[in-house]
Amino acid sequence: MTAAAGAQLHEALASVPRPRLRRTESGLLALVSVAVLLGFATLRSQQALADGHEALTLGDPAVPLVYLGFTWAVHLLFVLAARRSDQVLLPAVALLGGMGLLLATRLPSGLVVQSFGPLELGLGELQLLWLCLGLAVMGWLAVAVRSDNWLRLYKYSWAGAGIVLLLAVFVFGREVNGARLTLCIGPVCGQPSELLKVLLVVFLAGYLSENRALLATQRTRLGPLSLPPLPYLLPMLAMWAIALAIVIVQRDLGAALLFYSVFLALLFVATARWSYVALGVLLFVAGSVVLYTLFPHVRTRIDVWLDPFASPLGAGYQTVRALMAFGRGGILGTGLGAGLPAAGGTTAIPAVHTDFAFTALAEETGYLGALAIVGTYLVLVERGLRIAARSGDDFRALLATGLTLTLGIQTAIIIAGNARLIPLTGITAPYISYGGSSILASAVALGLLMAFSEREASR
């Protein structure tokens, strides 16, 4: 009896994989932990100084410790599950999330307040909650996803779900700051366009990997341009229409720009044909001109971009304040907690916690800090593209490329917008900005990338 039970136990233990150490990951996570703790120490000591105490302090250590604890827990999960997946993605995300957490803790917590029954959470606590949820989602996907068939086979269903989500926002959406993006179910509000990004990438990867050969070889000639066969142009036109609809109905320029550029990039990656890109850019220019002449909110954005100082207290206020914040930061920054993003309980830059998170961090950590943030995003992109290049089939390669480019292009759009390189469009900087939907959508993308980076052993 006991022998049988012992044999059973032995068998059960044998089916559990042996833990596999992930030295690169743990080493990098240790550095991230040190950085985040140093950041919090700087911030709290600076705040203590403002209150008149001269003491080096970590303040209430709960926030960074809970965050770092969660990060290490995900690392431990990977070790126990004996994954051979990428070891750089988790630390990079942890650093970006830590930067975001530093910012969210440092801004006045009344900026966002959400109450769950008697429990009332401010900006910092909410961001911590979302980041931990995001880490959990990422860890779960990275360990649980073994096959991509459930994504590949139901690509039209995923696209359909995305469109339904979009229509639901059109109809039931709540208007915030002139943009109709938010959908509320009970007390929880979210921005479905964040999730829509991931769904559309899944659809595009499925569609393009299936029709790649056709799109790349056949052609119809139209003047100097050689185009793909007309029926295969339809999804392209549909994407263009969706992007336009998002701008017109939701007034969300950033999301529209993001969808469209990711689509064009994927089309090029799948077919290696410049003519598609040329056509796409032509359509983009035409659409932009039409939008500029028809819609005043688009015109305002462009005018502010060209000359924010024309109305420094009116339309250009946000941009002017952001530029001054960059200037105040200099090379080493004012120091965490010593900048002006929230002097005296009000924010110097409107929407600093979402749209201008990068600016605020650049002010307090300076040019060097900003450089490090951009570098970390670049690392994420490099890892994603490497995973794509290594993957065994076209669907996976395109999906990994799409998820990576979504993240990268979104970051590029918002950082360039913050620095007035391109007109400002209100989207979030992944993992750094406040926003539950944004963090969760990025976590889904990163989790899938990690799952696909698994080396072949388990196949």
Partner: protein
């Protein structure tokens, strides 16, 4: 300037230093990874994976590295030998032309099917595509390193 402000200033610099130390660590990991990838050059043009099979050999999950011209059939002279009663001796041929794989039926009795359609001429395949020879389902995959 008093000691506390200096300490605070050092703390700030230490934070930046830690962040850049992290980036340096990442960079080293990336370079190591690229070096390894360079060493392990791809040696195969592609591979065939058996998804489902009727006969005893090959079993589902079996993997065949592909030659530039790969023949599939029951004959022992085929590159990929299928023990499948519904496959012809010389059933189908995979050829690598330029940058892509092409599949062609060699006048088999029961035909070769891609996405449920019987082939009547050469067709281009992409990695990840599945096709059926007799009762054996095969998938074309990128070669491993």
């Amino acid at each position: 300037m008093d000691g506390f402000l200096i300490a605070l200033w050092i703390l700030r610099l230490a934070f930046l230093a830690a962040v850049f130390l992290f980036l340096y660590g990442v960079l080293r990991a990336l370079v190591r990874d690229l070096r390894r990838a360079e060493r392990e050059q791809r040696s195969e043009l592609g591979r065939l994976v058996v998804v489902a099979a009727d006969g005893d050999a090959p079993a589902p999950g079996a993997v065949f590295p592909l030659d530039v011209i790969t023949t599939i059939g029951r004959a022992a002279s085929s590159t990929v030998v299928l023990d499948d009663q519904f496959a012809s001796n010389e059933h189908a041929r995979l050829t690598f032309r330029g940058r892509s794989w092409h599949l062609e039926d060699l006048g088999s009795t029961n035909g070769t099917f891609v996405q449920g359609e019987r082939l009547d001429g050469p067709v281009a395949l992409v990695f990840g595509d599945e096709f059926t020879v007799g009762r054996t389902r095969l998938r074309l995959e990128r070669g491993r390193r």
